[in-house]
Each structure stands twice: as structure tokens, then as C-alpha cells.
Symmetry: C2
Subunit: 324 residues, 2 copies
């Protein structure tokens, strides 16, 4: 696969770093567990591709890519405790396999470890800029998660608020990945800005698509129950737009129940899906996702042609056609 070379660079760097630390065994075990290979490593791959797309070498961005991947996995470890999620990628979550204390402390030490990696490896001329971007990402994923939790308790959320939340919770780490990669690759400000816009666009598109797939993918493809967002009371773009558009009494009634009870029983999921189709909300959300994907493609179209740019186009394709 076209991305193998990049994934391998990241995997071997992560493996080496985790093996060469004298951290207490009670931390290094869960840390190694959550970082286990097998995932797409989308964030570090974007980081390396961004470095190459602006004329640098992927090797220049490996440490930074690994740090972003650690930051991403830190959010998974802590969010899974907050969400009481038992399973992640088919395996028990850290707080389930160990306990809450271990999961809290593992997440904490992961961030400390990521900063240590960056501070000891990033060339002096880029240190301030890279750490500033990395820390902005760290602040905003926390804020995004806080907004997500706040929305859970609220009885109205606007599209603008939804977009702010997913920008912080999902898009910011993708943005961070390409900005740091392009900085380390010696990119111009203009090229860095194009890559930032590209990553923001794919991040938003990805999340909207995620909301759609929750209700439309088949169970096997999705790897989780259809309509889980509905059951859990998640304030998705579908729910927010349906609430804005609904006029029929039965639709208004159903949505009112959703907001009042913070979710609906699983047997209501088919009714919700029918409502979403009648209101045109699924079609609209798919079009929104396409719009952001198209913007992303237009952003990188303005970069000089390169193998890395071709692969960035492939990333858009890959995310666009995904079924889960």
C-alpha cells in the first residue's frame, strides 16, 4: 500500500522510543498497549507527507509525527474513561484491562513523554513554532472534549456550535499534524496555510461522514451497533439539522423525546432513520461532507506537484469512500 513506507517509519520510531525508557513497568505496559501497531496512523502519515509535500524529507518529521500520534492516543485513553467505553479497536480499553487510576496516569505520562521527545529532537530554529502548534492542539482537544460533554447536557445545540466542537475535537489534531510536518520540512508560510486548510477540511468532512455512517452503514462494516449515536444522545449534525427542519408533529415529538431524555431507545432507531430521510438531512449531510472534501482537494491542488501531494489526494479518496 502506498503509505506503508511512512507507517513503517513511524512504527519503528515509536517502538524504539518505548523500548528505550526506564519508566516504571506499571506505566510502560499500558502505554505500549495503547500504542500497539495496526492502525492507519493517519495523523503521523499526514505529518510526514506534509514535510515531503513542501520539499522536505519525511524523516525530518518522524519525531513530531510520533508525538502527535501519542497525543491522539492520550485523548483516547482519557476519553474512554469519561465515556465508560469498554472496547476500543476490538480490544479492552486501558481502564478496563487495568483500572481507572492506571488509565489516568498512563494518559498523563504519555503527554509528558511526547513533550520530552519533541524537546530533545526538534531543531532549535523550529522548537518554538512546533511546540506552540503542538500545545494549541493539546489545549483544543481538551476543550473539544469538554464541549462534547457540555452538549450532552444541553437541550439545544446550533450548527455553529457543532462545527466549533468537531473542529477542536477532531480537526485540530489533523491540522496540527500537517502544520508541524510542513514547518519541519521547511515549507513556506503559504504552503503551510494550504496544508492547514486541507487538514481542517478533511477533519470536518470526516466527522460529518462519521455522523452519517452511524445511521447508514451496515453493522458488519461499522463494527458497532447502528444508531449508537441516537441511543447515546450524541448531538450529531443529523440531529441538529433535523431539529431545525422538522415541522410534522410526529417528527417534532420524536426529536423532543431525544433532547429531553438525552437519547432514544434502540427500537426507535429505524423510525429516526426514516425521519432523517424524509427531512433530507442525510442527503444534506453527505453533501456537506463532499463540500469539505472538495475544498480539501482544492487546497492541495495549489501545492507544487509531487509524489507526496498525490498521496495526500489519496488520503482524501480513502476517507471519502470509507464504510466505517
Amino acid at each position: 500500500m502506498a503509505f506503508t513506507k511512512y507507517v513503517e517509519l513511524i512504527e519503528s520510531y515509536l517502538q524504539y522510543s518505548l523500548q528505550h525508557t526506564n519508566m516504571p513497568v506499571s506505566l510502560i505496559e499500558p502505554f505500549t498497549y495503547i500504542m500497539a501497531p495496526g492502525g492507519k496512523r493517519i495523523r503521523p502519515v499526514l505529518c510526514l507527507l506534509a514535510a515531503e509535500a513542501v520539499g522536505g524529507k519525511p524523516e525530518q518529521a518522524v519525531t513530531a509525527g510520533a508525538a502527535v500520534e501519542i497525543l491522539h492516543n492520550f485523548t483516547l485513553v482519557h476519553d474512554d474513561i469519561m465515556d465508560r467505553s469498554p472496547i476500543r479497536r476490538g480490544n479492552p480499553t486501558v481502564h478496563t484491562k487495568w483500572d481507572d487510576s492506571t488509565a489516568i496516569l498512563t494518559g498523563d505520562v504519555m503527554m509528558a513523554f511526547a513533550y520530552r521527545m519533541l524537546i530533545s529532537s526538534i531543531p532549535a530554529q523550529h522548537l518554538h513554532s512546533v511546540l506552540q502548534s503542538f500545545t494549541k492542539g493539546f489545549v483544543e482537544v481538551c476543550e473539544g472534549q469538554a464541549l462534547d460533554i457540555e452538549f450532552h447536557k444541553r437541550d439545544t445545540v446550533s450548527v455553529a456550535e457543532y462545527l466549533e466542537m468537531i473542529e477542536k475535537k477532531t480537526a485540530r489534531l489533523l491540522e496540527l499534524s500537517v502544520v508541524i510536518g510542513a514547518t519541519l520540512g521547511g515549507g513556506t508560510d503559504a504552503h503551510i496555510e494550504l496544508l492547514r486548510a486541507f487538514a481542517l477540511n478533511i477533519g470536518i468532512a470526516f466527522q460529518i461522514q462519521d455522523d452519517v455512517l452511524d445511521l447508514t452503514a451496515n453493522t458488519h462494516e461499522l463494527g458497532k451497533t447502528i444508531g449508537q449515536d441516537i441511543v447515546e444522545g450524541k448531538k450529531t449534525i443529523l440531529i441538529i439539522r433535523a431539529t431545525e427542519r422538522a415541522t410534522k408533529p410526529e417528527h417534532k415529538e420524536l426529536l423532543q423525546q431525544f433532547w429531553q431524555n438525552n437519547g432514544l431507545p434502540v427500537d426507535k432507531v429505524p423510525t429516526v432513520r426514516t425521519m432523517m430521510e424524509e427531512l433530507g438531512v442525510l442527503t444534506e449531510a453527505r453533501a456537506m461532507a463532499q463540500h469539505y472534501f472538495t475544498n480539501a482537494a482544492q487546497d492541495i491542488q495549489q501545492l507544487p506537484p509531487s509524489n507526496a501531494r498525490d498521496l495526500l489526494f489519496q488520503v482524501i479518496e480513502m476517507l471519502n469512500v470509507r464504510k466505517k
Copy 2:
């Protein structure tokens, strides 16, 4: 009081920083709550004094001192969840007043916030060094807490292991405070090393004294139950040395119960205290604490005389005579 000027510098900086952020209200409220004034602010005060003791101005170290204070309070928020502590400084802990999720996320965002403060304020020539020290502190407090939890599950701990744990959990943040302060104040390497040794010594002395006070202070002074460490099964220097020294069958029996059951019922506390006195462990621990306090004084004796150095001597005195 001699330290008022320094405490006020820190308080006003913290207050300003917390008021001028657009963080979601669900994070800024618990963050502000845990950072509320009233404490001794020993770490930032040491940071400011270190800057002044090497010839700089305390103002040069205010941001760094505030960042270390945030790091310290981050450990409190997360450790209190792990220890299920309901009360901190006479008030409900963050996870008690809000919930575990809020406390996890508040701790996370506090670290992100501390890094952001440092990155945006530390002069370029000191950025790498300050962030390196700060991150070392961040890594090691996590490791110290992990060791503390590991010890809880173990049935033997050596004095060397105990010292490693308290160096990481307690002393490292004091060390960090003076190293960063002295760096920002433009101190020489030799002066920075003297201050580092001073802080390490007071950190160890402080923790040993804490172990002694748990068993000897009167309840009113301590503000908590006498012998709480015994009840909770904490592997203090007293327990470790008593286990090494005990020869009488009744002492060995009592200690074996402690290690096997991870603590003893509260009605055994007077018996434990009598045993500690008979074994000479309390006297020995007090002498150890004095030894480290004396070393600390000798370290700063080698700094050039200054008002700040006088105040550092006062810090030793203050910690040495404390009753709780």
C-alpha cells in the same frame, strides 16, 4: 510576612491568566477552584527566590513559577481521583464537587495551559532549557505516583526505593522550581546546581518529616487522623525501617499483618507508635530529616549573600519547625 511580596506576584499573575482565557466554562470553573489563593505557594516562591538569589529579578520567573504551581495542582487533581480523596485543604476535591470526568479533563487542560504560558512567555534563549526541566518534572511526578501505587501492592520496599519514589513524587517539583527560577534569573551553572541540591534536600527532608508527623502530631495540628498512613497501608520510611530492624516476635507479627493486609485497623495505631519508639525508628527518621535540612542549608550557604538567600534559609526553618 517575608514572603508576601512573592506570593502576591504569583497570585496576581495566576488570577490574570485565568481570567483572560476563552476556555469552556466547564473547565475554567474547576481550574480556578483548584488554583484558589490561600496556600503557601511554596514552589513558585522558591522559583522567584532562586531567580533573585542568583542576581536576577523575581519578575523574570513569575510565568515559570505559575506554570510549576499549575503542574503541582494538576497532580493534586489527578492523584485525588486515584486515591478517592474527598477533601483537599478543607474543601471538596474536584472530582467530588464535580465528577471524575471533569477532574480528568481539568487536569489535562491545566498541563496544556501551563505549557502554553511557558511557550508564549519564556525568552527564546531560555526556552529549551526551561521546557526541558519542566517536562522532566512532569514525567517524574507521574513516575513517582506510579511507584507510590506500585508500592501499595508490594510486600517489600527498600529504603533506596522509598527515596527514589519521594525524590520523584515530592522533591522533583521543588528542584524544578529553583532550577527554572535560577536559569531565568541568569544564574551560573554552579549556582543552579547548588540550588538544585538545596531543593532536593528540602524535598526529601519534608517527606520524611511528613511520615513522622503522621504518627506524632496531635490531631488538631495535623488536620487529619493520626496514623492515617498506617491505616492506608502507606509504605513510609517508618514502616520500612521498622521492618528492617524488628526482631521481637510481637513486632514482627504486627509488621507482617501490615504488609499482608496493606494497612492495619485504626485501633492498632497506638501499638504501632509504641513499637516505632521502641525500635528507635522515630528518632532515626527525625535525625534523617535534620540531616537533609542541614545539607540544604550548606548548599545555599555557598551562594553569595543576599536578601533572597536569607529568605531561602527561612524556608528551611519554616519547613523544619512545622507541626503539620
